[in-house]
């Protein structure tokens, strides 16, 4: 029995463990792997590589994971003081996102991953939300998730998946200013974009919050189901 193969994009950071100190490491919080496994998929991690997107030919679904900021040059803006980029990830993940959209590969974007989807679809980002909304409830403090009540577009995929549940956990300082070709289907109370979809494709969903932390079966299950189809 072969489970659907779900690729998860990764961070590259200097990491320390055991005897190793600040070794360049490809990594992803294990919560993503567990969320895919619990939803019935087989996770593999996709370290950044800008050569081509042919790895997607062997994938049944894609998770664009969280992480640092997208380089503003990717949406025609100049970096602001608090923008913290990883060009190596952008060079790998924007082509993956575009290829997933072009080939109808099921894709779930999480946090940075939702922002990557927006930029891949021709959109752009707010570089520092507190400058726009006047508060820091979307990232209250280092390592602390902000709890938010979201509003979802009636009849959207995310509204259907979340049911009566409105509570989401956020940790970000950038946000989607323009979703490009994608539809905005969720907002926080302050109007910040919380969910993106493409209703014209089999499964394209981006969420600004972190469903992997609770191993949310609703969202990861929907991805795996779409990947099995």
């Amino acid at each position: 029995m072969m489970r659907p193969l779900i690729g998860i994009t990764t961070y590259v950071e200097p990491a320390s463990w055991g005897v190793w100190h600040r070794l360049p490491t490809t990594l992803v919080p294990h919560a993503y792997v567990e969320a895919v496994t619990l939803a019935g998929g087989r996770a593999v991690l996709l370290p950044p590589d800008d050569a081509d997107t042919d790895v997607l030919r062997r994938m049944d679904g894609l998770v664009l994971g969280g992480g640092a900021d997208v380089d503003p040059a990717r949406y025609g803006a100049s970096p602001q003081p608090l923008t913290d980029t990883r060009p190596q990830r952008d060079a790998a993940e924007l082509p993956l996102a575009r290829a997933a959209l072009a080939t109808d590969l099921p894709v779930l974007g999480v946090c940075r991953g939702m922002q990557v989807l927006a930029v891949a679809a021709g959109g752009r980002l707010e570089q520092h939300l507190p400058d726009v909304v006047g508060h820091d409830k979307h990232r209250p403090a280092p390592g602390v998730y902000g709890s938010q009540q979201a509003v979802f577009e009636s009849g959207s995929r995310i509204a259907e998946l979340m049911g009566a549940d409105r509570e989401i956990n956020c940790y970000h300082h950038q946000g989607v200013a323009d979703a490009g070709a994608l539809s905005v289907t969720g907002w926080a109370a302050d109007g910040v974009v919380e969910a993106l979809e493409d209703p014209g494709r089999p499964f394209v969903l981006g969420v600004q919050w972190h469903p992997e932390v609770s191993r949310d079966r609703r969202l990861f299950g929907a991805l795996v189901s779409a990947a099995s189809a």
């Binding site: 990491a15 320390s16 490491t25 990594l27 992803v28 792997v33 991690l45 996709l46 370290p47 050569a51």
Partner: protein
């Protein structure tokens, strides 16, 4: 033209990065770079999930370095100096058996070579200093013995068996880096085709009856000599018929 997809076994490990301290699926980038530099496309196989269905999607697999293999897998008692990674043992032994059964091209690096021996019915020396009386195959704790500027650590010669597959690939001898305290005792169904000349520690395993099954005790991914990764990528491409068709004469 698709590149061969090369799976790399990975850690599920508590790591520190930036301000974070969390459980991550992870692997040093040196392995990823070695695969990409030799024409493959790397994906990481996390160990939490002991299924082997992922092998159906791969063209080749690298069993990477890491912690010690638990001695109970070859029927011995655990040595006090052993630091085992049970989660990786369980998942990687399943993957190794399944990869051997499918004759998937296999490269074993350090722990990965030891895993080949154990999966092939062999056994390991659990703490080399007990056997050979010195610790030169491993550097001092807390250092990075494999970094480019640490050339004094653990380097030694390897002599290669004439007429072996390793000999065709690597020649009669080479100098390697080294960071391990366990080593292959009985190679099981594999053949030892390279040794450290000073102490006869096994440095290369192979099985010439297979499409490609090669294990090395050193860390080629931390060097400029990526011949074993090139050979894996070529074998993976050939097995999956990814090589460019020859032009008609």
């Amino acid at each position: 033209m698709r590149r061969p997809l090369i799976g790399l076994t990975a850690y599920a490990q508590q790591v520190q990065y930036g301000g974070n301290d969390l459980m991550a699926g992870m692997l040093p980038m040196s392995y990823v770079r070695a695969v990409h530099a030799t024409g493959g496309r790397a994906v990481l196989i996390t160990p939490d999930d002991p299924g082997v269905d992922v092998l159906d999607s791969l063209d080749g697999i690298v069993f990477t370095g890491g912690g010690d293999i638990d001695a109970r897998h070859w029927g011995a008692r655990l040595h006090p100096a052993a630091d085992v990674d049970e989660v990786r043992d369980r998942s990687e032994l399943m993957l190794m058996h399944a990869a051997l059964e499918r004759d998937l091209p296999i490269l074993g690096v350090c722990r990965g070579m030891q895993l080949m021996a154990v999966a092939g019915g062999g056994s390991l020396h659990q703490h080399l200093p007990d056997v050979i009386g010195h610790d030169r195959h491993r550097a001092a704790p807390g250092t990075d013995p494999l970094s480019a500027d640490a050339s004094a650590y653990g380097r030694h010669e390897v002599v290669v068996q004439t007429a072996s597959r390793a000999h065709a690939l690597l020649g009669a001898h080479l100098t390697v880096n080294s960071f391990h305290h366990q080593a292959v005792d009985d190679p099981g169904t594999f053949t030892v085709s390279g040794w450290c000349p000073e102490d006869r520690v096994a440095e290369i395993l192979e099985d010439p009856r297979r499409v490609f099954a090669l294990g090395v005790q050193w860390h080629p991914e931390r060097t400029g000599d990526l011949r074993v990764f090139e050979a894996l990528a070529s074998a993976a491409a050939r097995r999956s018929d990814l090589t460019r068709p020859a032009l008609a004469a």
